[in-house]
Structures are given as structure tokens and as C-alpha cells.
């Protein structure tokens, strides 16, 4: 029996593996964008207004910067391989929303594949798993793949 796929954290992204999106917020009153919807700071011009509506953010963007994790991050990051396999992290500019969102690059992407300004798109991958479930997170993948 295959394991159940669950989001590693509820409410930050859709679980459509073919066509995933980050779930952001938008102020109904002035159109300000937020990600995550509930955990990013408020526009003081509308600070008494809590009516953020869910919106799906752009599914692709351009690499604003990138780096690597050469050493295992601290808990609560779950290390899934022994020895630890370094991974690439990208900060991606979503042009319509004009905000930058970080995520890991999909496994197999190397630093040599990366360039600032290149296009990447959103993907889903397994962050870690236990006996019954796979816990899913968003990552970025090179545009033109997948």
C-alpha cells in the first residue's frame, strides 16, 4: 500500500503535484500581496484591516539569488540521507507579486546549473517520510523540466 501524501505544513501550498502553487494572501482593500498569507508582516497603510484573501501565487519566477547547504541544517530540519547530501537553495522573484520566496531546488540540481536571473518553476517533493506518510514541501525546479 502506498503511503499517504501530506503537506509538511498545512496551508502554504496546494498539493497538485502536476501544477502546484504557493498559497499567498492579498488584501481585498488595497491589493497588497503576502506570503505566507498569515505569517508575513502587515502593510501599515491598512494595519487594522485583516481581510487577506487566499490567492495562488505565480508558479514561476526568476532566481534572485542562490546558495547551498554544505552542512546539515539544525532541527527541526529532518535529515533523510546518511551521509548528508548537500542541496541548493534558491530565492526566487515572483514578478507579478514582486516578492521573493525561498525554497530548495529539486534534487539533482547542482550549483553549476544555477544562474541569477534564470527562470525556475514551482514543484513538489518529499521532505521526509515515516512509516505511513510522505510529508511534502514546495521546491523549485529548472524551467523546461518536469
Amino acid at each position: 500500500m502506498s503511503k499517504q501524501r501530506l503537506p509538511a505544513v498545512e496551508g502554504l501550498f496546494t498539493m497538485d503535484s502536476e501544477n502546484p502553487s504557493l498559497i499567498g494572501g492579498r488584501k481585498r482593500t488595497n491589493g497588497s500581496f503576502y506570503f505566507p498569507k498569515e505569517l508575513s508582516g502587515n502593510d501599515p497603510a491598512s494595519s487594522l484591516d485583516q481581510d487577506r484573501e487566499d490567492i495562488l501565487l505565480s508558479q514561476s519566477g526568476k532566481v534572485w539569488s542562490y546558495t547551498s547547504a554544505g552542512y546539515p541544517p539544525a532541527l527541526p530540519y529532518v535529515i533523510t540521507s546518511e551521509p548528508f547530501e548537500p542541496f541548493v537553495i534558491a530565492a526566487v522573484h515572483l514578478e507579478k507579486e514582486d516578492l521573493v520566496v525561498c525554497g530548495q531546488m529539486m534534487p539533482g540540481v547542482d550549483l553549476e546549473d544555477m544562474e541569477i536571473g534564470m527562470e525556475v518553476k514551482l514543484a513538489l517533493d518529499t521532505l521526509y517520510e515515516d512509516e505511513h506518510n510522505q510529508y511534502i514541501v514546495w521546491k523549485w525546479e529548472l524551467a523546461g523540466q518536469g
Partner: protein, 398 residues
């Protein structure tokens, strides 16, 4: 608006390092005792203790002023304990200044110390999916060095900086730090040493990333009147303190957030809190960057030091490496930066670090910095920021 000044009567530090057999209380009491000796002030005469908290040492760390006062011997002084991440020390000093300038007290002790486990900083334990500091580790493995790597790589794309430029910062600061008896790392590193160390967060290597340290630092501060009555005609003065928060929207992503604010409405993709912190301190002190003789900046990474040159207005964006390679920011140069050796030579002891920066300002302004003395040190700035959005900057002058 310029604000009133206070006097720095005494400074003290417990050297930085790893001290498994000492508690943060031991380190703080040691620094406080040295600061009071330096100021020629008795503990019984301290009217206010402003503690910078540590969040990694249990309850005593959350009520640090009380903890330190108890260890020194409760004598009924007023107490305040504050936490603002890496800005805690500047926050504690700003509270002491407010007490002094409002006449609530004449003389105060500001103290912070930390004793932490080895390795990278980790978030507070537990499962907290509504805490961005927890989420960034859990979902992305976005550790502190990853942010430093993102900023460094961004500099390379925007300004053409290279890994050699970043290594040169480490080399410079290790030369400065080799002359500082309070520094943890006093070895002088070469560019080859840096290149031989492993990549932690591309493009940055192990020797370029600040480690975690134990340490303690303390200041005795007073009203100018109190200093004069003690016979000190021209005390070192605190002329400006910045503890501001950001203005929305912060377009440059910053710890611990894993997304920036949206700049769709403001239209300014370069807006960052870090450009505003120093400006407030300059305004309070009534000076401009051209008036500075030296600066202590928060070099959490080698590349980060270059960011600070630009954030505090030493040069235009993109010109930092020219300043570095021209020797301007070395001791003996036009505007030495991190004459103490900076975090590269110290590592970071969170609540003590901003206080340690002010200790260095004071020693430099007094002309007591020995082999690392900056010539003509009349005005100095320290700067850093606490994650989640706490500004921290102090301007001191003689």
C-alpha cells in the same frame, strides 16, 4: 532631532571563546566587575542594571538583570531585562540612556553574556508551524549561513564582487583580531587558508562565516553631570543610539523570513531595513558618515561586512570592495572597519555582542586599543541588527 548624551565611564569584557565550565552568569559578572573597576564605581553605587537576555540558558537568562544583580549581591537597584536577538545589547543600553536622561538614575550598569552549545544556531525546540523561524528550518533547511550565502551571491551578480574579495575581508579582520586579547581567534589567516576551508553556504567558506561563542561584556554609563562630579572633564559619550524597526515593505529578504515583503506597490526593490538603522543614529548624533573615524560592523560573514560599508554610507552601493582593496578599512586606512577583528575574530555571543562593540568604540576613543589603535579616533559607530527586525547602532565620541 539630536538627543542628550550620556557618559561611558567604564567598559569590561570576559574574553570570547568556548567555556564549558563557566555559566553565562560567570561571564557576565566577570565583565561587569571589570567595567565597574574601569569606571572606579562600586557595585553598591549602581542605581540601575540593564540586562541583555540570553534565550539559551533557561529562566535565569530571560531575567538577566535580576540574575546578574543577584550574583553580584542584591542591593536594591532598579532592574530591566530585555531581549532583541543580536540587538539586545543596544536595546539594554538605550533603556539605560532613557533612565539617565529622564533623571530616574545617575549611573547604570549594562551587561550581557551568553554560553551556548557548539554549532549552528537552531530555533527554539517544539513544533511551531506558526513561527517563521521554525518553518524556515523545517521546510527549507534555511540556516543562518544560507542567508549569508544568498546575500554574497547577490553581490557577485549585482556588483561583480568575487570570492577573492570576500576572502580579503577575512584576511583583514584576522590581522586586526590578532592584536586583540579579548578575541577568540587570533590566528592571522591568508587568502589561501580561506580557500582551503570547506564551502558552507556557497559562495562562502567555513572561515568566512561567524561561529557561535561564549562571552560577556559590560558598560558603566552615567549622566554627564555625574561624570563631571567624579572629576572626569571629557568623558567618552554616547551621542546616538538606533533601535528602530523596519519600514514596510522590506524588499530584501531577511532572517528569519523565507519570503520578502511585496514591493509591488512601493516599486522599490532595493528597500532594506539595514539602510535605515545607521541613518537614525546619525540623526540623533547630528553627524553624517563623513564624520566617522572608524566603525564596528556585524560581519556575520565576510561578504556581509561589504554590505555594511554601503548600508552605513561609507560608500555607494557596489563600491565596498574598492574601499577594502584601497586599504581604507584597514587599521591605518581612512576609515578602519572592525579594528577589534569583528565577529570573524570573536564569533557571536548574542546578548553580549552589541555591548562588546561599544567596549571597542570606547577603547579606541580613549586611545587605549594598543596595537590595533585607530589614529585620530574621535567618532565611532557600531552597527548590527537583531533578526525579526530590531535595529542596533551606537555612535560614540570623545
Amino acid at each position: 532631532m539630536t538627543v542628550g548624551e550620556i557618559a561611558i565611564l567604564g567598559v569590561g569584557m570576559h574574553p570570547w571563546g568556548k567555556f564549558a565550565d563557566k555559566s553565562f552568569v560567570d561571564l557576565g559578572v566577570d565583565a561587569a566587575t571589570k567595567a565597574m573597576e574601569d569606571a572606579d564605581i562600586n557595585w553598591n553605587d549602581i542605581q540601575f542594571v540593564s540586562g541583555a537576555n540570553t534565550v539559551r540558558n533557561g529562566y535565569p537568562g530571560w531575567v538577566s538583570a535580576s540574575t546578574f544583580a543577584n550574583a553580584l549581591g542584591f542591593q536594591g537597584s532598579q532592574l530591566a531585562s530585555s531581549y532583541a536577538a543580536c540587538a539586545s545589547g543596544a536595546t539594554a543600553l538605550s533603556i539605560a540612556r532613557a533612565q539617565i536622561l529622564s533623571g530616574v538614575c545617575d549611573v547604570a550598569l549594562v551587561v550581557g553574556a551568553d554560553q551556548v552549545p557548539k554549532g549552528m544556531f537552531a530555533p527554539v525546540p517544539g513544533e511551531r508551524p506558526d513561527d517563521v523561524d521554525w518553518l524556515r528550518f523545517h521546510l527549507i533547511g534555511l540556516s543562518n549561513p544560507a542567508y549569508f550565502g544568498l546575500f554574497a551571491r547577490r553581490r557577485m551578480a549585482l556588483y561583480g564582487d568575487t570570492q577573492d574579495d570576500f576572502a580579503a575581508v577575512k584576511v583583514k579582520n584576522s590581522q586586526h583580531g590578532s592584536k586583540n586579547p579579548n578575541a577568540r581567534f587570533t590566528k592571522t589567516f591568508t587568502a589561501e587558508d580561506v580557500k582551503a576551508s570547506p564551502v558552507v553556504a556557497d559562495p562562502l567558506r567555513l572561515l568566512e562565516i561567524c561561529t557561535t561563542s561564549d562571552g560577556g561584556a559590560a558598560l558603566v554609563v552615567s549622566s554627564l553631570d555625574f561624570a563631571r562630579k567624579k572629576g572626569i572633564k571629557n568623558p567618552i559619550r554616547v551621542s546616538g543610539i538606533s533601535t528602530i524597526g523596519p519600514t514596510y515593505p522590506n524588499a530584501i529578504i531577511d532572517m528569519p523570513y523565507f519570503a520578502s515583503d511585496s514591493w509591488a506597490k512601493s516599486g522599490y526593490e532595493g528597500h532594506t531595513f539595514k539602510n535605515e538603522i545607521a541613518q537614525h543614529a546619525y540623526t540623533e548624533a547630528g553627524i553624517t558618515p563623513a564624520d566617522l573615524d572608524f566603525a564596528e560592523v556585524y560581519d556575520l560573514s565576510s561578504a556581509y561586512e561589504l554590505d555594511w560599508y554601503e548600508h552605513i554610507g561609507l560608500c555607494e552601493p557596489g563600491q565596498a570592495r574598492k574601499l577594502l582593496h584601497d586599504g581604507d578599512t584597514s587599521i591605518g586606512g581612512r576609515i578602519p572597519v572592525n579594528p577589534s577583528g569583528g565577529l570573524g575574530a570573536f564569533g557571536e555571543a548574542i546578548p553580549a555582542q552589541a555591548i562588546a562593540q561599544v567596549c571597542e568604540l570606547t577603547w579606541q576613543l580613549r586611545g587605549e586599543a594598543g596595537e590595533r589603535q585607530v589614529n585620530g579616533a574621535n567618532v565611532g559607530m557600531s552597527i548590527n541588527y537583531g533578526m525579526f527586525g530590531h535595529g542596533s547602532s551606537v555612535i560614540a565620541r570623545r
